[in-house]
């Protein structure tokens, strides 16, 4: 366990070095000078001197490892930034100041987290329940009309991108029928849970549809396998009711790979549901990154990258732990 934790920290470190090199090192290798890099943040009308001053302020003249050290140090102890209007202190964890908006990255990013969290968790519950239920029914009634229809819809669900299903759903349910929120609104759950759910229901369903489809297929395959196993025959031989055979013996075994993928999927989503947040104009982590990228707001992009990496690594750790709970054979002796 300790080894895994150390491994997780090392992975985080490695990802930070690599991303930092890509953002701040590669452009230099490609021929950009500190001044030309800084010129992006001074505005089109600024002269050479302003760009040089900007490059100095952003520390672009320093060697790359010094820049990285400064960035990394700020995470742990904070840093002082001169955003033009005097020195401002950015307390730890400080992921730097935005080059564009001159705000600290961390508080801005964290304020977006509830949106992404709400979106991911709500959708995850929906797709887990819907996907597994559909998969189990499909497996038990293999070859039936329900199975064919469900797997057909699932194939569509896996294949259709969010920006298609999302826009379609918006145009029908929000604009034509007026049943749901037209996107771009978010109410914190602490303020009004009903409104929170109302605002998010369409993104939830759209996102869940994509994942539920994959989970249904996965559950179906797993159930077909586990229901044909010898231990399922043993369960029947004991005289257990079919319902117990299916849930306690068949589904229990089929769930293991699903829980693994579920952990990773949720971890990935917490780092930003880019397409969904963009489609529904939700101000979450994903939208934060999507807005920062074309503006070359590197500290923000770095911040999101690190946050996403953290969630994925954490999800991996949790999945590992869960695995040993689910499957006694992998329990550490």
């Amino acid at each position: 366990m300790i080894r895994r934790l150390i491994g997780a920290v090392l992975t985080l470190f490695a990802v930070s070095v690599i991303t930092f090199l890509i953002f701040f090192g590669l452009p230099r290798l490609a021929g950009d000078s500190p001044v030309s890099l800084a010129a992006r943040y001074t505005g089109k009308t600024a002269d050479e001197a302003t760009a040089v001053a900007m490059a100095h302020r952003l520390g672009f003249f320093d060697p790359i490892y010094v820049q990285y050290g400064r960035w990394a140090k700020a995470i742990f102890v904070g840093a002082d930034y001169n955003a033009g209007a005097g020195i401002e202190h950015c307390s730890a964890p400080c992921f730097g100041y935005s080059f564009i908006t001159h705000e600290a990255v961390w508080p801005d990013m964290i304020s977006r987290l509830p949106v992404t969290l709400s979106l991911a968790v709500g959708a995850a519950i929906l797709w887990l329940v819907a996907g597994i239920a559909t998969g189990v029914l499909s497996a038990l009634k293999r070859g039936s009309a329900f199975d064919r229809a469900a797997m057909g819809v699932a194939l569509a669900g896996v294949s259709l991108p969010i920006f298609f299903t999302g826009l379609l759903a918006l145009s029908i349910f929000s604009y034509k029928l007026g049943w749901t929120a037209p996107g771009s609104t978010y109410t914190p759950i602490t303020q009004n849970p009903a409104l929170w759910a109302y605002d998010l229901i369409l993104p939830w369903v759209t996102l869940a549809f994509l994942y539920a489809a994959a989970y249904a297929r996965l559950t179906r395959a797993g159930m077909l396998e586990s229901m044909g196993e010898d231990y399922t025959r043993t369960a029947r031989a004991k005289g257990l009711p079919e319902k117990t055979v299916v849930t306690k013996h068949g589904l229990r075994a089929a769930l293991t790979p699903i829980m693994t993928i579920f952990g990773l999927d949720v971890g990935l989503l917490l780092g930003g549901a880019f397409l969904t947040e963009t489609t529904f104009s939700l101000q979450g982590i994903g939208k934060f990154a999507v807005d920062a990228i074309p503006a070359h707001d590197l500290p923000k992009v770095m911040g999101v990258t690190m946050l996403a990496t953290f969630f994925i690594i954490a999800a991996n750790l949790i999945v590992d732990l869960m695995y040993s709970v689910i499957d006694p054979r992998v329990r550490l002796s």
Partner: protein, 355 residues
């Protein structure tokens, strides 16, 4: 030919504890109709052991699954009757059969590792088996499970009850399976190749255990196997199956002392024996087991039978009846005298190594 045994399908309640009459189990597949079991009849009393012997695909396992109602009702065509203690299984509702399963009749499978759920402890699985049919608390069932594990000679049962199947050795797993099967005192126990997946050293222990438990519980025992040694060890009666049909059926002593069917001779000849000369080769049955979709016409064994030529062509197109031979039932065109002669003059000597 003396009397032809043809169990009637008149629905009269049977005389024996277990009676299977004219059982047919056919599976329609895309390639054709698979006749896994084709007109099988046998009976068994409590306290007695029946050994069902045959090659892979002879229908011996399918029969046992049918007795427990464990075949898939959607893709199997069943006819005939299976009477267990006065209750008919084939026509009974799935729910009725389910309630008999595990309580009145239980089964032990070949591979104890894959037959136990990897995610539950051995104890949990025995407790579950006990509590389906007995309204008791978990604590009582747990005590019973520990007791059962002790009876199948698992050391430290109170401790091992919380182990998972993968923490048991192969022999212990099969013991645990037996404990699970015996947990509700079944009157009929079916053991489907119970020792095939085990070490030779463990096989004898498991067989001993089953014999002891059978005496203790006075249950009827069916041993399904391709190992004649196992049958010789345990069985009172032997049923030899070939291509879904019984081809020889009678008391074990008779079958081993005076086998009359060429296929049974082949089975005996292909059995390794310690008292044979090292230079002697095993005599395999030539050919391969028949396809159950295209069962050979006439006697299903005729393509592999060395004596088919003696039947004047009858074996090619007439299905022989299961008829009384010198001492037991045999399905063969050869006359009783011819069979006895061949056995005495050729086969017996060959088997005893004096030929």
């Amino acid at each position: 030919m003396t009397s032809v045994i043809r169990p009637t399908a008149d629905g009269r309640s049977p005389r024996a504890f277990l009676e299977v009459r004219e059982l047919c189990i056919h599976f329609p597949t895309e390639d054709g109709l698979v006749k896994s079991v084709d007109g099988l009849s046998y009976s068994l009393e409590r306290g007695k052991t029946l050994g069902i012997v045959g090659e892979s695909g002879s229908g011996k396992s399918v029969t046992s699954l049918a007795v427990l109602g464990l075949y898939n009702r959607n893709n199997a065509q069943m006819s005939g009757e299976i009477w267990v203690d006065g209750e008919e299984i084939v026509s009974a509702s799935p729910e009725t059969v389910r309630k008999l399963r595990g309580r009145k009749m239980a089964i032990i499978f070949q591979d104890p590792l894959s037959s136990m759920h990897p995610f539950y402890t051995v104890g949990d699985q025995i407790i579950e088996a006990y509590r389906v049919h007995n309204k008791v608390t978990k604590a009582v069932a747990r005590k019973h499970a520990i007791d059962m594990l002790g009876r199948v000679a698992i050391p430290q049962p109170a401790k091992r009850v919380d182990d998972y199947p993968h923490q048991f050795s192969g022999g212990m797993r099969q013991r645990a399976m037996i404990a699970m099967a015996m947990s509700c005192d079944p009157e009929l126990l079916i053991a489907d190749e119970p020792t095939t997946a085990l070490d030779v050293t463990v096989q004898a222990q498991i067989l001993d255990l089953m014999r002891d438990l059978q005496r203790e519980f006075n249950s009827a025992l069916i041993i399904i196997t391709h190992d004649l040694g196992v049958v010789a060890e345990l069985a009172d009666d032997v049923l030899v199956m070939y291509a879904g049909k019984a081809i020889e059926y009678g008391p074990a002593v008779e079958i081993f002392e005076r086998p009359e069917h060429p296929y049974t001779w082949g089975l005996l000849a292909s059995m390794p024996r310690l008292d044979r000369e090292l230079s002697d080769r095993l005599i395999p049955i030539k050919g391969t087991p028949p396809s159950l979709i295209n069962v050979p016409s006439g006697c299903a064994f005729h393509p592999r039978c060395s004596y088919a030529g003696l039947t004047n062509g009858a074996s090619l197109n007439v299905v022989p009846e299961l008829a009384r031979g010198a001492s037991h039932l045999v399905r063969c065109h050869l006359s009783v005298e011819t069979r006895q002669q061949i056995w005495q003059r050729e086969i017996k000597q060959e088997l005893e190594g004096t030929a």
